[in-house]
């Protein structure tokens, strides 16, 4: 069977009520989502959140306990991996160590009985700019080069969906930045749907059009990077994607477009459109760079004491202890040089109502903040 029939379905990828149960825990819990054709989609979450299991079910390496996976109108839930129009870039690449780079890339084409593989392989090698390495063996290549070969080996087959499982996890920081841009360029050139699994929120935001934040087998929130960052809907998303200052509060009244919320005895304003909860108990959230020091923005919480200051070049990051003893993180731009604020100084904190978001108040303030950001 050198010429297995690969399904040639085209279209969006649908996951419908997908569940994967292992002996003692539920890895993926009733997950439904649609990935539009040609988009760059990221599954983001801490280790053990079920993102890799989801990916492996799409690849056919893991069988769902329940639910359905389809591409366009074709159900591929139980199709063998080699029958799916899906290819994977594995964590640590999984190149074939006994084959040359050329043969590694030609592997999928040869299995499908393509007669003349030379042109396709050369084209894709050119795309990843490694044509001169065709006759080398994988262990003679650097990590970044192996990574690009792994991408080339997958996209040469022109799959409908390309799955990337923490593809940059093994690279150092500088190379990772470079590869992020590279992968995005390749995706735009070939126009294949990319599904990228990562625990690195910066990576997800840099590359993806749409991010689904996963936690404990479920999708917490899905949207564009800016949408998730500016309007998180849960404490987990607020803390996992960037940093957030969350403060407990109680809604006094809602009128017109704004609500008045009391936090620790201080009344502030929140746009109703930016409130994820209809209840009275809420968590008020503000991103650190949106808090202002010694300015007169509309939502003011009075004075606090600076307990820590770290200069990080583009900005200076402060910890400010409020009157109710909560430490808030504040980023101040260094556009006019480092501000003259020292540890122990008393400063006032304020921000614009439009930059406030409000979440359901029954959540843990630190959900998603202290989860390990390591790969699973």
């Amino acid at each position: 069977m050198s010429n297995p029939k690969v399904s040639d379905s085209r279209g969006d990828l649908h996951l419908n009520r997908l569940t994967k149960r292992f002996a003692d825990f539920i890895a993926v819990d009733d997950l439904s989502l649609t990935v539009p054709r040609g988009s760059f989609f990221a599954l983001l979450g801490p280790s053990g959140c079920g993102k890799t299991t989801t990916l492996r079910m799409i690849a056919g390496l893991e069988e769902p306990t329940q639910g359905m996976i389809s591409i366009g109108d074709t159900d591929i839930t139980t199709a063998k991996p080699y029958r799916r129009p899906v290819n994977t870039v594995f964590q640590n690449y999984a190149l074939f160590p006994h084959l040359t780079i050329f043969e590694n890339i030609a592997f999928g084409l040869r299995r499908r009985g393509v007669k003349d593989v030379k042109k396709d392989v050369d084209n894709v090698l050119e795309l990843v700019e490694l044509g001169h390495l065709a006759e080398r063996k994988p262990n003679q290549l650097s990590g970044g080069q192996q990574q690009r070969i792994a991408v080339a080996r997958a996209i040469v087959n022109k799959p409908e969906v390309l799955l990337l499982d923490e593809p940059l996890g093994a690279l150092d920081l500088k190379l990772r930045r470079q590869m992020q841009i590279e992968l995005k360029r390749i995706q735009m050139e070939v126009g294949i749907t990319f599904i990228h699994v990562t625990h690195d929120q910066e990576e997800a935001m840099t590359m993806a059009d749409t991010i689904a934040v996963m936690n404990q087998g479920k999708i917490e929130q899905m949207g564009s990077p800016a949408e998730l960052y500016e309007s998180p809907k849960t404490a987990f998303v607020a803390n996992f994607l960037g940093q957030s200052n969350l403060i407990k509060g109680k809604v006094n009244s809602r009128s017109g477009t704004n609500a008045s919320v009391k936090i620790h005895g201080i009344d502030i304003e929140v746009p109703i459109a930016r409130m994820a909860s209809h209840g009275d108990r809420v968590l008020i959230g503000v991103r650190p760079e949106k808090l202002n020091i010694n300015a007169n923005s509309k939502n003011s919480i009075g004075n606090g004491t600076v307990t820590d200051a770290s200069f990080v070049g583009v900005s200076t990051q402060y910890l400010v202890k409020t009157s109710w003893n909560e430490e808030l993180v504040v980023f101040e731009q260094n556009d006019a040089g480092a501000p003259d604020i020292k540890v122990g100084d008393t400063v006032s904190i304020s921000w614009e109502p439009a930059h406030t978001f409000a979440l359901d108040g029954d959540q843990d303030l630190s959900a998603g903040a202290d989860v390990d950001h390591e790969a699973d």
């Binding site: 069977m1 063998k80 080699y82 994977t88 640590n92 999928g108 299995r111 080996r153 997958a154 087959n157």
Partner: protein
């Protein structure tokens, strides 16, 4: 000698002395091995080489030989024992192929499918070594004996005549060889299969290879170092073996090991025995070199 070297430099500066001592360490570590190798390999080989060209003087007592550089001994010994040479390599070859056929699925199962049973199964592979090689081979005379379970079973089948025998046959000798060297095949195969990253196998499936193609194109090539090591570890000792042919065979299944044995200890013809030993060694060396060249895995062995 090492100590002598150290003391002569006792007056040199301390740092220099320390460096000297450190540079001597590898040689000191090598010393026991070298002594062993010289005493029990190089010297006996040299003696054997010199014996192989000796002749027995006219009228001398049995076992008395003098050096006369008679290289004709080699030709004589070889032409008188061509059949046994050929038989040794054929039996060893068949046993190696059988062992490979049995050990590959076994090692594959232990490496990929055994889960928690893995260590236990590995102990079982090595377990035969806990009893004597001789004892286990003698046990085969019972297993294959005329009243044994195998013969009784075969007799019950319609395709075999009632006077079927298994002991004292080539079948018994090859079975014994296969059995005795099976662990030497299994362990290197297991070691190389176990090293394969399961993700490369998943990657093959992802790239449109079904189970069989993945096995042929990825698993087998990646396990080649184990196949080469295992076949060598089985073939080399099997070709020189004489215990299996002695205990399980008949006069027509004599292997070259049996000839050397009887030349040394029964006929007391040391030169012929020595010449045969050398010829066997050379033949195996040539075969092994060709094999490694052919399998193209010299970098991996």
């Amino acid at each position: 000698m090492a100590f002598l070297h150290a003391t002569t430099h006792a007056s040199a500066p301390a740092i220099d002395n320390a460096a000297k001592k450190r540079s001597l360490t590898p040689y000191l570590l090598l010393l026991p091995g070298m002594v062993w190798l010289i005493g029990f390999f190089v010297l006996p080989i040299a003696t054997l080489a010199s014996t192989s060209t000796m002749t027995r003087p006219e009228g001398a007592a049995v076992g008395t030989y003098v050096q006369s550089l008679r290289f004709q001994n080699y030709l004589d010994a070889f032409s008188a024992n061509k059949d046994q040479f050929l038989r040794s390599f054929i039996y060893a070859g068949i046993a190696t192929l059988l062992a490979l056929a049995i050990a590959y699925p076994l090692a594959y199962m232990i490496a990929f499918k055994a889960g928690k049973m893995r260590s236990f199964l590995l102990v079982l592979v090595v377990a035969p070594f806990f009893t004597s090689f001789l004892l286990r081979t003698i046990a085969w005379t019972q297993i294959l004996g005329d009243e044994g379970p195998v013969v009784s079973f075969l007799k019950a089948l319609p395709f075999f005549s009632n006077d079927i025998r298994l002991t004292s046959t080539p079948f018994a000798v090859v079975s014994g060889l296969t059995y005795n060297f099976l662990p030497f095949m299994t362990l290197p195969l297991y070691a190389s299969l176990e090293r394969i990253d399961p993700r490369t196998l998943e990657a093959a499936g992802d790239l449109y290879a079904n189970g069989l193609t993945t096995f042929r194109r990825v698993t087998v090539p990646l396990s080649m170092p184990g196949v080469v090591a295992g076949t060598l570890l089985t073939f080399i000792p099997a070709a020189g073996d004489y215990v299996n042919a002695y205990l399980l065979g008949n006069p027509n299944t004599r292997m070259i090991g049996n000839v050397i044995d009887s030349r040394f200890f029964a006929i007391v013809d040391y030169p012929t025995a020595a010449a045969l030993s050398f010829t066997l060694m050379a033949a195996i060396l040539i075969l092994v070199t060709l094999y490694i060249r052919k399998s193209g895995t010299d970098e991996l062995v």
